[in-house]
């Protein structure tokens, strides 16, 4: 019961954040002076064609650019909720929802795999590093962790691409081999994609992994010196069992509650990495839409990318409450 109440409260809170988010996304997109039509007119003039006043006016009305900002927002939101319509992409003359739907799943997949990778790798390493504090391994892990935190994603992407290119003669630009690039989804294409994913996941996940190792190590070190550990050891429990049964269980809570921090980092990393590697995910399209001030497309991308982190945080809240009764009954 307490769990349900807690879950509902978090859900309502998440909905509030989503509304705030949609406002922010919309306002940001309105920030650039001028709109898509102004750049469209400039483009027409550059190519030597005079801009037809009537045609421009018709486009302005069609895209609702003649109405005040809050009305455009309300219309955007209403269409989104009512029809699942996110507006039209000016540049590509295609519904935004279609473009987003075509590219978002791969971003979600990469983010999900990266999260699993980051947690799967960092928790054992963090535990080992804490238990064997000041050992050679601990030092190596600490130094590597610092370096991992310091290297920006896009650099790491370039470096790994270069290594793969120079060392293995494989080109990892893109997520598919050339023969599957434009093919329909099939088992073979899926397998081909899986083969291209590991470098991407490593590039995106390195920063988060390094950070999580540090958190895990720090928290576990604090726990290891507490009296209950000594008491358990005095009772004669085997060291491994003791470790997993008590201090690790306590130390894992802060790690889970940091999903709210790591996820934005992963989505950020996935965005910039996919731009460098030219992956068919949201990143390159997002950059392009920002450059051409394709506002509905850019706004929708901003919103959905953030939505990923909000949902992830919500899941981690629920997970944490399920694992830690103190939070449920607060």
């Amino acid at each position: 019961m307490a769990m349900l109440k807690y879950g509902v409260r978090r859900l309502l809170y998440m909905l509030l954040l989503m509304v705030m988010l949609s406002v922010v996304a919309f306002v940001i997109i309105q920030l650039p002076p001028g709109d898509f039509l102004t750049s469209y007119i400039v483009e027409l003039q550059q190519s030597g064609q005079p801009a037809d006043e009537e045609e421009i006016e018709a486009l302005r009305v069609r895209y609702g650019l003649d109405k005040p900002m809050y009305l455009r927002y309300l219309k955007w939101m209403w269409d989104m909720i009512r029809y699942g319509d996110l507006g039209m992409s000016f540049e590509r003359e295609q519904p935004v929802a279609e473009i987003v739907a075509a590219r978002l799943p791969l971003t979600i997949l990469i983010s999900l795999l990266t999260t699993l990778f980051a947690y799967g790798v960092s928790i054992p390493i963090g535990i080992f590093s804490a238990v064997r504090q000041y050992s050679v391994t601990d030092y190596v892990v600490t130094v590597l962790g610092f370096i991992g935190l310091a290297i920006p994603n896009f650099l790491l992407a370039l470096i790994i691409m270069y290594i793969l290119y120079a060392g293995f003669q494989t080109d990892i630009g893109g997520l598919f081999s050339p023969e599957y690039e434009l093919a329909d989804w099939s088992w073979a294409r899926f397998v081909d994609m899986l083969k291209h994913l590991p470098p991407v996941v490593i590039v995106v996940g390195t920063g988060s992994t390094a950070w999580l190792v540090r958190v895990m190590r720090g928290v576990l070190l604090d726990e290891l010196s507490k009296p209950y550990v000594i008491a358990a050891r005095a009772k004669g429990i085997s060291e491994l069992r003791l470790l997993i049964k008590y201090p690790v269980r306590v130390a894992i809570n802060p790690i889970i509650s940091t999903i709210g921090w790591t996820l934005p980092g992963i989505v950020s990393g996935a965005t910039i990495t996919s731009i460098v590697l030219g992956l068919p995910t949201t990143g390159p399209m997002y950059l392009q839409s920002l450059r051409s001030q394709d506002m509905y497309l850019a706004g929708s991308f901003t919103m959905f990318l953030t939505l990923l982190t909000l949902i992830g945080t919500f899941i981690s809240d629920i997970l944490l409450a399920w694992m830690d009764p103190r939070i449920r009954f607060e």
Binding site: I28, M161, Y165, L263, S268
Partner: protein, 379 residues
């Protein structure tokens, strides 16, 4: 600092200095023990000196100085021993001679051991402006014409990457500080209000902070940076980017300030100050601020690298600073593809500076955090 503790004559001198030391002296002695933090601080000091302070003096060329004969010239090594094995007291560089690759017909640079250019102090060369004021053609070191010295190689126009990297550091590193200054004001103000007054105000500010933290920074930065009009002058773009970077940077600081204030609010000395009629602002300034100043410094130190990386990423994508402004991100944007990296790896040298600076800031912040925490003793 005056000695207030009466120490018996037999007392150990170390103990005496320990108890009489001020908060800052204690922090300094703890910080000194943190070896990586000390190394990091020295590296930072060095990089700030050679870039922000003295990049004009140390550059052998001017930022935009084009060497049309040397596009993509590889870095030259500073040598003491020549091809015949003779030792030169004065270091020198070999010149490049351009040959054609027999297979690809591309121009390749070949080391010309005949052309020995000794490195001299105080040579005349391209016109530069030092600290934006003095015009001179005097360079602290360099080689005489027609010799060339490209310690980090050149870019596609034959501009000296060494000169450009030093000058870029000035922009990249100062952006972190101005950004932090803005975050500092915002974080203190909002965190302070939140922690000191509590209640519904606190609640609202906390929700806003949580919202900002849940936003992936790079997409939001990209969106904001794309909103800067392209026709803006460079100075305004620079300021715009700093404001954008600090827009998300204040949340961490606000949390620290709030947490500490909530903790300190309940302390007896605050109650005592209230009872003698101290104003709210007076309490914050005279009693609370000194108690958590050290935490503020730590939080600030740790937020600088995020801003430097943010600028680098944005400029790399072409959304941040744009040429003719040079920052490390702008320099790296020429190395967009791994083919470029494979052919001209020296274009990546600025990345080494970025990593060194971020690493050093992290080490220094770590050391400061340990030093600032009075409960960390003996841990």
């Amino acid at each position: 600092m005056s000695m207030t503790v009466q120490v018996p004559p037999t007392a150990d001198e170390n103990v005496e200095t320990f108890y009489a030391a001020s908060q800052w002296q204690l922090m300094w002695s703890a910080f000194k023990k943190h070896r990586m933090a000390m190394v990091g601080s020295f590296v930072l000091l060095f990089i700030y000196l050679v870039t922000v302070a003295f990049s004009d003096l140390l550059s052998p060329y001017s930022i935009e100085g084009v060497h049309a004969d040397y596009p993509y010239a590889p870095p030259q090594l500073i040598r003491f021993i020549d091809a015949e094995g003779r030792f030169h007291l004065r270091p020198f560089v070999y010149g490049w001679s351009v040959e054609e690759d027999p297979v690809t017909w591309e121009d390749i640079f070949v080391k010309d051991t005949e052309a020995v250019y000794p490195i001299k102090l105080g040579v005349r060369g391209e016109q530069v402006k030092i600290w934006g004021t003095f015009k001179t053609d005097w360079h602290l070191f360099g080689v005489e014409e027609p010799g060339v010295m490209f310690l980090f190689g050149t870019d596609q126009l034959g501009r000296d990457l060494f000169t450009r990297t030093l000058h870029a550091g000035r922009i990249s590193l100062s952006i972190g500080f101005i950004g932090v200054a803005i975050s500092f004001v915002l974080g203190n103000l909002l965190g302070g209000i939140s922690g000191f007054y509590g209640g519904p105000v606190d609640n609202i500010i906390q929700r806003v902070i949580e919202f900002f933290i849940s936003i992936p920074t790079i997409p939001l930065w990209m969106a904001l940076a794309a909103a800067l009009p392209p026709e803006w002058p460079t100075i305004r773009v620079y300021l715009g980017i700093t404001i954008i970077l600090s827009f998300l940077g204040w949340t961490g600081l606000a949390r620290v300030v709030r947490g500490k204030l909530l903790e300190l609010r309940e302390e007896d000395f605050v109650m005592a100050a209230k009872l003698v009629g101290e104003t709210d602002l007076g309490i914050i300034r005279r009693h609370l601020l000194p108690s958590f100043l050290s935490y503020l410094i730590v939080s600030l130190t740790l937020s600088v690298p995020g801003m430097i990386l943010g600028e680098t990423a944005l400029s790399f994508l072409g959304l941040g600073l744009r040429p003719p402004v040079v920052s490390w991100g702008v320099l790296l944007s020429t190395a967009q593809s791994f083919q470029t990296v494979a052919l001209y790896p020296w274009l990546f040298i600025p990345a080494g500076f970025v990593i060194a600076v971020v690493l050093s800031f992290n080490f220094m912040g770590d050391g400061l955090r340990d030093a600032a925490d009075p409960y960390a003793h003996g841990r």
